[in-house]
Symmetry: C2
Subunit: 761 residues, 2 copies
């Protein structure tokens, strides 16, 4: 058990680290040479084209204006200055809604902390519950005196305070959650209403188009929608299987990079022409001229790419059974997206198309049954990942010990036997496997989501986020409290009664407060300060800058502004919500640390959103229901754990009173779900009609068909090329009501097929 | 523990009872005087107008053709004769699908029983596991030798048979369930496709219409749908709050009955004019002439009714914020029913309108928040009803003892003290409260569903059925196995680990086989045989016939053909599914009894469906997803219990193998849900379009508006009156696109309001 001193030392270390990061950032950001790393957003928006220079020699690279070093924290008020509506225009609604999660944390925990410190801490402090332990061998610290542990068992009157606190926390949290849900639903609807015309407003993604022996997919789609949405259907865009094309484009980019690198090398050392070895990994084999080789490679790849494009355009074999169907009006699209099309509910599945840049093309072709099977596989895989991830890591750890290394590489023996080095390796090795795993976990989870078959990047990120949160909940939160691998926990839970589980966890909670304080400081404070420093993009940018960049455009491509990273960031915030809610009624000493985290993170991320991140898509805050649900879950967990804790404190009368809380909270969640969630899922017909009518009045002669032409073409088609019209298999409009069909059985087309024109299809 | 002899005696008693019922039925049904009780369906369909007479004196009342008594079982083959498609025409799809539940039971359990008796019973029988118990004081019977109890602990090789059996049961049940789901989904779609034109195909029920200070509800509805469904909206029908009207009509009917009764009395005894006492309950007070009094009452009520109707028609105050909106095409209605209309998801809620006769008008006006609150109240009430229903009954039981009666009515003392009578009362009294409660339980559950706010009789019945099933599951199934009140069970479950619960229940299962065999014979065999006798309708019909009936029409009204009673019948069948699946791998001796139940019930209900029942509505088999879900649940329960049982038999290796089964079954359920459930919920646009097109070709000049005119008027309006046109507030068609509005803020109407005609609204 840590004393206040220990916490103080840890806090000091972490504050120093965080401040060091912030100072480093303050210095680095005002160097013109780093301008593209710290202000890429402005370059991307075209509002800045070259770094600001203060004049004088070397000022192109280093800031020589020493006055600017004094104002090293002035980015903070600047980050807060931009008003919210402007920020929506500047960075999109997703970023603004994301920032509001931090604000929500502040709004929930600041008042709770105030109440807790004025009402509950004195009640805890003025007890002698822990003094009895002085004579036993259980150690405790002064910090624990502030917590519920300090209240002696059965002290009913004192527990009333905690009970009231639990009620206050629940009501306040629900109130804030509801207000926020309402606000964000409104913001989303306003955003969608004010949004400029976008293809996704008119477009529906159709998947699982059935195969027909008589018609191609393109003909089938056109006939189906002309028949079943006769007044609203406009056009469609077929989806091509462009796996090979993507592969070719990627290879060409690598080759181009190597060519640039070789060229640069040659320019610096004109005397020697760079050579490339043709053998394994460029280490051996015949030597050829580097520049010539890479130039020829790039050329041949370019040829192959254009051939592949031609093949995709003209052939129909590469068309997958999915299509983007566009309608004449938003109303038509809203109707098609919300209704069932065909008798067989596994065919002609329609849903709102995401933004073109949000679409994840690789998953569009997956058939219905595949999707179901993949979902089960991923669920099972995720279960094993969460509960058994320690097994392979322990295995690697057992391999990677000193003896193992000595056996594998006997020549290193002398080196390893040096005492200092040995202890470092021994301390370092076992952890490294775990660290590497945790570093790659978000990517593994993302791959899982991709395998599961989601069709938009936003939904991929949302699913990965909820998996990451579950992982953290089980392995970080429960894992730290009960100490044991997740599987051991699972086993003990299965063998415990439903009444005992909250008790087991609840009892350990107050004891772990100091651990979580340290965790918040390391992961939260220092982590957020590290985020603003952007060390990795900084290094990569300068590396690329020295080896690859030749033109200004290259330099632009060398900058990786990154995104908010919803799939890693949001679960982290949620963990702090969970800690805050669980500890609010038990050890409120945790709250100030959490509040500082939320405040610091809010400023830092607001700065990053304004100056750095470039969101890859805009989902208009579609992730909020997830955020809301997870906070509500955390609230319910906190209530159950408090119930468990109090029932061990011989205050059994509190149980029924506390049991009301989760029931109320679940009711609250259901209410919110019914009331606000539809705003994030469907598009009401009334809204669609209003926008349609406004637009018809404003631009009566809009050529929608041209507008949609290549909106949803595969990104590889769009890169710097004029897309031909053949992509979307279109033919001149015929009588809209009569659809000619080649098919023998006309079960699906209610119109008589004898009127078909033999030449028309 | 019952021996085979005990079972034999019980079986004999029940078989005798059942056969007695059947013989009584066979005799009663061929009496012409009972014709309307046993063949009401044919009268209602107009295929029979008077009872078949065999000729001779008295043959109007009693069948004198003795040959027909010999063929007393010939209704059985007759009941099976009518082919299914004809039965659909004759009795509707609901009845046919309901009968298929019994067939499903036969299809599932007959092959399982065959396999169990050839493969598993010999394995169980040839063991001596129970012989060891001979010396202990646990009694067992020969029947238990057929069950899993007879296998000694740890006899791994023998348990393999049970494991395989569990797999076979799961796969066979799932296979049959899937096939049946598929068939019924197809039958439903075909039924809907072949169905004649009905108003509900074109109509959507709109609820939670918001209030507007500037427009009445009728204007609001018309404007909203003209704006948001401009091409498809046709007309609407307002819903009136007709509570007072219904009340008046009901009173008039009572008065009419009394008048008829008095008239009949007078006709028999001409000399004495019947008198009515005006005081309390007709027992005291001034005497008046009965016929005159009732005639005047009926007349004044008729006047009041027509005044009330007039008031409802002309006034707008009685219009509730709900409406039936009809569209020009099925497509338009399908779109409106499946989409969200307004930005606020709690307003303008649309759903498919049920058939007019299926609508439960009293709940149409409930606001959104009320519905949510009512749902929570009912959930809590149901919880208490299920777990604590024994408390009030025990209280009544404690009151209703001999001493209590003696105290309350001292004059009865001498009578009660007679020994025989005393023992009868003591044996009878405690049970009577429970019996009355169980008799009224379906009605209580139905009232709960009504309070919860469902808007169609079919959904009311479905909800009541699922509540009844849960009640039976907890109080009959678990209650009989663990013996203890539901609340005691709940308490012990909360204090047991998740691993132990299936063990506790599983262990008791084999011991309860004999109890359930008796239960099946009493509740199933005798119950079904009693159903066909229709004792209650028979008595009521003859009572009404002698006191009230004067005309042929009266006689028609005196017949109550009844309905299948989904809310009581289906949960009963489900209990047998549960018992069959749970015992199939444990004590297969139960299976023949269940098979006999399913077979007998199938024949009996088929007979009743053909000759008796008159369904009040047609939901086209919408209840099948519920049936499917409950059978799947029973399957999962059986798997978990088998797992618990085997884990106590020291066959722990079986657990992981058995754990696969529930996972697979849940996967199967999700698959079925995704694949077939939509057919029972939504109406695919393709189907709607096909029917629309066919109809446009067949009847191009159909006047839909006239067709809808009073389709959804409150039933009290429809009774024998020509409904005036004012009911649906309609005005001559104006330009369809421009909607005049009186309202100040035109936030919801995208069209400019300055074009409004001052005279038009």
């Amino acid at each position: 058990m840590a004393t206040i001193n220990d916490i103080g030392v840890a806090a000091a270390i972490n504050i120093v680290t965080a401040v060091a990061f912030l100072i480093a950032f303050a210095i680095l950001r005002i160097q013109p040479v780093n301008d593209r790393v710290y202000f890429p957003k402005w370059y991307l928006k075209g509002l800045r084209t070259s770094s600001i220079q203060t004049g004088g020699f070397g000022s192109k690279f280093i800031n020589l204006d020493f006055r600017s070093y004094v104002r090293f924290l002035n980015w903070m008020p600047e980050a807060l200055k931009m008003p919210e509506p402007e920020l929506v225009d500047h960075a999109g609604l997703d970023s603004v809604v994301y920032l509001r999660i931090y604000l929500l944390g502040l709004k929930i925990f600041f008042p709770i902390a105030c109440v807790a410190f004025t009402a509950m801490v004195p009640v805890n402090w003025t007890n002698k519950g822990l003094d009895r332990l002085k004579h036993s061998n259980i150690s405790y610290s002064d910090i624990d005196k502030l917590s519920l542990s300090n209240i002696p068992n059965g002290s009913v009157s004192r527990f009333w305070v905690h009970l009231c606190m639990a009620y206050a926390i629940t009501f306040w949290t629900c109130f804030m959650l509801k207000r926020e849900y309402q606000n964000i639903a409104l913001m989303r609807l306003q955003f969608l209403a004010n949004d400029q015309m976008r293809p996704n407003q008119y477009t529906v993604l159709v998947r699982n188009i059935p195969t027909d022996p008589h018609e191609s997919i393109c003909e089938l789609v056109e006939h189906f929608f002309k028949v079943n949405h006769p007044d609203h259907y406009l056009t469609f865009q077929a989806v091509h299987d462009a796996t090979k094309l993507s592969e070719l484009v990627r290879t060409r980019k690598q080759m181009q990079n190597l060519l640039d690198y070789t060229n640069n090398k040659h320019m610096r050392a004109q005397s020697k022409r760079p050579v490339v070895k043709m053998g394994f990994l460029g280490c051996c084999g015949e030597e050829v001229d580097g520049i010539k080789y890479y130039t020829s490679m790039v050329e041949s790849l370019t040829r192959e790419i254009s051939e592949e494009k031609q093949r995709l355009r003209t052939g129909t074999k590469s068309i997958v059974p999915a299509a983007f169907v566009s309608f004449k009006s938003r109303w038509g699209a809203a109707v098609c997206a919300q209704t069932q099309q065909s008798r067989d509910p596994t065919e002609w599945l329609t849903e709102w198309a995401a933004e073109p840049r949000d679409i994840y093309y690789d998953n569009l072709a997956l058939p219905y049954v595949d999707l179901k099977i993949r979902r089960i596989i991923v669920a099972v895989a995720y279960f094993f990942l969460t509960f058994f991830f320690m097994i392979p890591i322990a295995f690697v750890q057992s391999l990677a010990n000193i003896e193992g290394i000595e056996k594998a590489f006997p020549f290193l023996k002398a080196l390893i036997e040096v005492k200092l080095l040995k202890s470092i390796i021994q301390g370092f090795l076992p952890g490294i496997a775990l660290k590497i795993f945790l570093l790659f976990l978000p990517r593994i989870l993302m791959q899982m989501s991709k395998f599961e078959g989601f069709v938009s990047n936003s939904s991929l990120e949302r699913r990965a986020a909820s998996r990451f949160y579950m992982f953290q909940f089980i392995n970080v939160f429960l894992g730290s409290i009960i100490t044991g691998t997740a599987f051991e926990q699972l086993n003990s839970f299965l063998n415990q009664s439903a009444n005992d589980i909250p008790k087991t966890i609840g009892v350990s909670i107050p004891m772990k407060a100091t651990f979580f304080i340290t965790y918040i400081m390391v992961d939260g404070w220092a982590g957020v300060a590290g985020e603003i420093l952007r060390l990795k993009p900084l290094i990569i940018y300068h590396l690329k800058n020295s080896f690859l960049v030749r033109t200004e455009q290259d330099r632009e491509e060398a900058t990786d502004p990154g995104t908010i990273g919803f799939n890693t960031g949001e679960p982290q915030i949620q963990l702090y919500f969970l800690l805050g809610l669980v500890y609010a009624a038990v050890s409120p000493i945790l709250l100030p640390f959490i509040i500082i985290f939320f405040g610091l993170a809010y400023i830092v991320y607001r700065h990053q959103v304004i100056n750095v991140y470039n969101q890859k898509y805009e989902s208009a805050g579609k992730f909020w229901p997830d955020v809301h649900r997870r906070v509500v879950t955390a609230l319910i967990v906190s209530q159950l754990l408090l119930m468990g804790l109090l029932s061990t404190k011989q205050a059994p009368k509190s149980t029924p009173l506390l049991l009301v809380l989760p029931v109320l909270t679940i009711g609250f969640h259901m209410h919110c779900k019914g009331r606000y969630q539809p705003a994030f899922v469907t598009y009401p017909l009334q809204e669609a009609m209003i926008k349609d009518t406004l637009e018809r009045t404003r631009e009566p002669n809009l050529n929608l068909k041209a507008f949609f032409r290549n909106a949803y073409a595969h990104p590889e088609f769009r890169v710097g090329e004029n897309l031909d019209e053949e992509m979307a298999v279109e033919r001149p409009d015929r009588t809209p009501d009569l659809v000619a069909t080649k098919r023998g059985s006309w079960r699906n087309t209610p119109l008589p097929s004898k009127h078909s024109w033999p030449d028309s299809v």
